[in-house]
C-alpha cells in the first residue's frame, strides 16, 4: 500500500479581491518508509499541498489518500496516522519542554503514567533531556525545531509531514536535524518534507518532486533528475552584457542564468574549445568557462527556467579562466 497517493489536487483561494490558484495540479506517490521531498521556492504551493494532505485545508479538486484512507472522507482516521510539524504551528513558549510533551501525550490519550514515560523517551530522542525543565522561550531555534519534531512523534505516527523543517537554522543545527530525520526513516517512518534548500533535498530525499507555480515540474530520485539533464553543464561568463547577448545567438541551446550562459552537452570538457572558437569567431570574449556534472540546481534551472534564490552554483566544477 502506498503511504501517500496524490492525484491531481488543486487548491484555489477565492477572496473578494482576487482568485489565487495556489496549487494548480499536483500528483505524486510516496512509498512507505521513504523520505519524499517537495522542492520549490516560496509561494510554489508546497505548504498548501502539505496543509491539504494533513487535513487542515480543503481540496478544491482532485483526491488524495494516506495509507489508503481518503483525506476528505476519512480525515479523523488520517490524523491518527500522521504527525505534523508545520512552519506556522506554534509552540507554547511559557511552558517547559517537559510540560509540552506531557500535555501533548495526554491530548493523544496516554494515561498520566504512560505520558510521563513517553515524555522521558521523547526528550531523549530529540536530545532535550537536559533542557526539559526550562521554559521553551529560552530554547535556541534548533532546540525549538527538535522539540517541534518530537511533539509530532508523540503518537508514533506512520507518516510524518515536515514543512521546511530546517528553515532559519544554522548549518550545525540543520545537520543534527537531518540525522534525526534519517534515523526516523530508518525506523520505518515515512517522511514527506518540503524544502527550498537544494542541498537538503539532495541529502535527505530518497525521491523528490520539484514544484513551481503550483505544478509538479519534475519528479524522481536526485540521481534520476540529474541524469535527465544528460551530459555535463558548461557555464560561460562574459566581459559585458552585449557579449552575453550576442553569445545567446551563437549558442542557441544555452540558457541565460543571471550574467552567465549555461549549456548541457555530452562530454562537456572536450567540447569547450570548439564553443570558445565559435564565440571568438563572432567577436565575443569569454571571461571564464567551466564544465561540471549537473546538480539539482541545474535540474531546477532546466525545469523552471530560473534558479532557487540563495542556491549554490556548481559543484565539482572544472573552471577554466580564459586569459
Amino acid at each position: 500500500m502506498l503511504a501517500v497517493d496524490v492525484k491531481n489536487i488543486k487548491k484555489t483561494f477565492v477572496t473578494k479581491q482576487e482568485t489565487v490558484e495556489a496549487v494548480k495540479d499536483v500528483s505524486f506517490q510516496v512509498e512507505q518508509g521513504e523520505i519524499f521531498g517537495l522542492l520549490g521556492p516560496n509561494g510554489a504551493g508546497k505548504s498548501t499541498t502539505i496543509l491539504m494532505l494533513t487535513t487542515l485545508l480543503s481540496i478544491t479538486k482532485g483526491e488524495a489518500s494516506i495509507l489508503g484512507l481518503d483525506i476528505v472522507t476519512k480525515d479523523k482516521e488520517v490524523r491518527e496516522k500522521i504527525g505534523v510539524a508545520l512552519q506556522d504551528t506554534g509552540i507554547d513558549n511559557l511552558l517547559t519542554g517537559k510540560e509540552l510533551f506531557f500535555t501533548t501525550c495526554r491530548l493523544w490519550g496516554y494515561s498520566k503514567k504512560d505520558s510521563e514515560k513517553r515524555t522521558i523517551e521523547l526528550l531523549e530522542l530529540v536530545g532535550l533531556t537536559e533542557a526539559a525543565d526550562r521554559r521553551v522561550k529560552t530554547y535556541s531555534g534548533g532546540m525549538k525545531r527538535r522539540l517541534d519534531l518530537g511533539l509530532s512523534l508523540v503518537h508514533s505516527p506512520d507518516i510524518l509531514f515536515l514543512d521546511e523543517p530546517t528553515t532559519g537554522l544554522d548549518p550545525g543545527s540543520r545537520r543534527v536535524l537531518w540525522e534525526e530525520i534519517k534515523r526516523l526513516r530508518d525506523n520505518g517512518v515515512t517522511i514527506i518534507l518540503t524544502t527550498q534548500y537544494l542541498e537538503e533535498a539532495d541529502e535527505l530525499a530518497d525521491r523528490l518532486a520539484i514544484i513551481d507555480e503550483g505544478l509538479v515540474v519534475a519528479e524522481g530520485t536526485s540521481d534520476e533528475l540529474k541524469a535527465s539533464i544528460g551530459g555535463d553543464v558548461i557555464t560561460f561568463s562574459f566581459k559585458n552584457d552585449s557579449d552575453l547577448k550576442n553569445a545567446k545567438n551563437v549558442l542557441n541551446d544555452a540558457i541565460e542564468d543571471k550574467d552567465q550562459l549555461r549549456i548541457t552537452v555530452e562530454n562537456g570538457a572536450a567540447k569547450i574549445p570548439s564553443f570558445i572558437n565559435d564565440l571568438n569567431k563572432n567577436g565575443i570574449i569569454v571571461s571564464s568557462v567551466s564544465a561540471s556534472k549537473p546538480t539539482l540546481d541545474d535540474v531546477f534551472l532546466e525545469v523552471t527556467g530560473y534558479r532557487l534564490e540563495g542556491s549554490a552554483g556548481t559543484d565539482s566544477s572544472n573552471e577554466l579562466e580564459e586569459k
Binding site: L56, S58, L86, D88, T89, G90, I91, D92, L95, G109
Partner: protein, 265 residues
C-alpha cells in the same frame, strides 16, 4: 490509546495548560485583579460621604445607610468583565500557531474553545470573590444575610461568562489579540450607561433610556436587591434573566465564530 482520549480529559489538560500560562505572567494578570478593588475604595471614598450614613433620612439615602452595600455590585460587575480575557487567550493561541497544532490532532474542537472560557470563568470567580471579601472586610452586609454574597457571586459568574463568550466571538472574528482587546471597549458603555452610582429612578433623559436597554442595569439591580432591599424576587429574576440571556447570546456567537475558525478554508 484512543480509549483514554475523552473530550473531558482533553478539556482538563488544555485548561491546566492555560492556567499555567496565566500563572506564569503575573504582571499581565495582577493589575486586572487589583483594579476592581481599587475602584471599590475610590467609589466608597468619593461617594460614601454623600450617599452613605450621613444621608440617612434624606432622599439621597438609597443605600439604607450602608453605601458599601450599594456600590459593591458595581465593583463586582467590573470584576466579572475579566471573563473577557478568554477571547484574548484564544486569539493568542491562534496567532502563535498553537491552535493550528491542535487542529492537526484528533482533539475535540469544543475542548479547544472551552478551555480559555474555563480559565475566564476561573478568573471571574477569583476576582469577584476577592472583591466580595474586601467588601465584607470594609462593612458590606447583605440585608438577606451572607447568602446574598453567593447570589451576587453567581450573577457575576453568569455575567462574566457572557463577556467571555463575547470576547471569544470578537477575538476569533478579528483574528488578533489587539482585536480581542479592542472589543473590551464595550466595558465602558456597559458599566456607565447603567445606574452605576445612583438608582435608576435618579437617572434623567437619554441616560435613563439607555440604562433601560442595558442588561448591566438589571444585573446590578439584581445584586443590589439582595444587598440593600431584601428578597425582591422580581428584581432578582430580571437580573438572572438579563445575565443568562446575554450569556446565551454571546456564547452562541462564540460557538458560531469558533466553528467557522476551525473549519477548513
Amino acid at each position: 490509546m484512543e480509549s483514554n482520549r475523552s473530550s473531558f480529559v482533553q478539556l482538563q489538560v488544555l485548561t491546566k495548560r492555560m492556567v499555567l500560562r496565566v500563572i506564569r505572567r503575573p504582571l499581565a494578570e495582577l493589575p486586572n485583579l487589583i483594579i476592581s478593588a481599587f475602584f471599590l475604595f475610590v467609589y466608597d471614598g468619593a461617594l460614601g460621604g454623600v450617599f452613605g450614613g450621613t444621608a440617612s433620612g434624606t432622599p439621597f439615602d438609597f443605600a439604607n445607610g450602608n453605601f458599601i452595600n450599594f456600590i459593591l455590585p458595581v465593583s463586582i460587575v467590573s470584576a466579572s468583565l475579566s471573563g473577557a480575557a478568554s477571547g484574548i487567550y484564544l486569539v493568542e493561541d491562534i496567532e502563535s500557531g498553537v491552535f493550528k497544532r491542535y487542529q492537526s490532532m484528533p482533539i475535540s474542537r469544543w475542548a479547544i474553545i472551552l478551555a480559555p472560557m474555563n480559565v475566564g470563568a476561573f478568573r471571574v470567580l477569583l476576582q469577584a470573590g476577592l472583591i466580595l471579601l474586601i467588601g465584607k472586610l470594609i462593612g458590606a452586609d447583605p440585608v438577606v444575610g451572607n447568602v446574598g454574597f453567593f447570589i451576587v457571586l453567581s450573577l457575576a459568574f453568569i455575567w462574566g461568562m457572557g463577556f467571555a463568550g463575547y470576547s471569544v466571538a470578537a477575538g476569533v472574528k478579528s483574528g488578533s489579540s489587539q482585536g480581542a482587546q479592542a472589543a473590551t471597549f464595550l466595558f465602558f458603555p456597559a458599566i456607565f450607561l447603567a445606574p452605576t452610582f445612583v438608582p435608576r429612578e435618579q437617572l434623567k433623559g437619554w441616560l435613563e433610556t439607555a440604562a433601560a436597554y442595558n442588561p448591566t442595569t438589571y444585573v446590578i439591580e439584581g445584586m443590589r436587591s439582595v444587598m440593600v432591599q431584601g428578597w425582591e424576587l422580581d428584581i432578582l429574576f430580571r437580573g438572572y434573566l438579563a445575565a443568562t440571556s446575554f450569556a446565551v447570546i454571546t456564547l452562541t456567537l462564540a460557538v458560531i465564530s469558533a466553528r467557522k475558525a476551525t473549519e477548513k478554508a
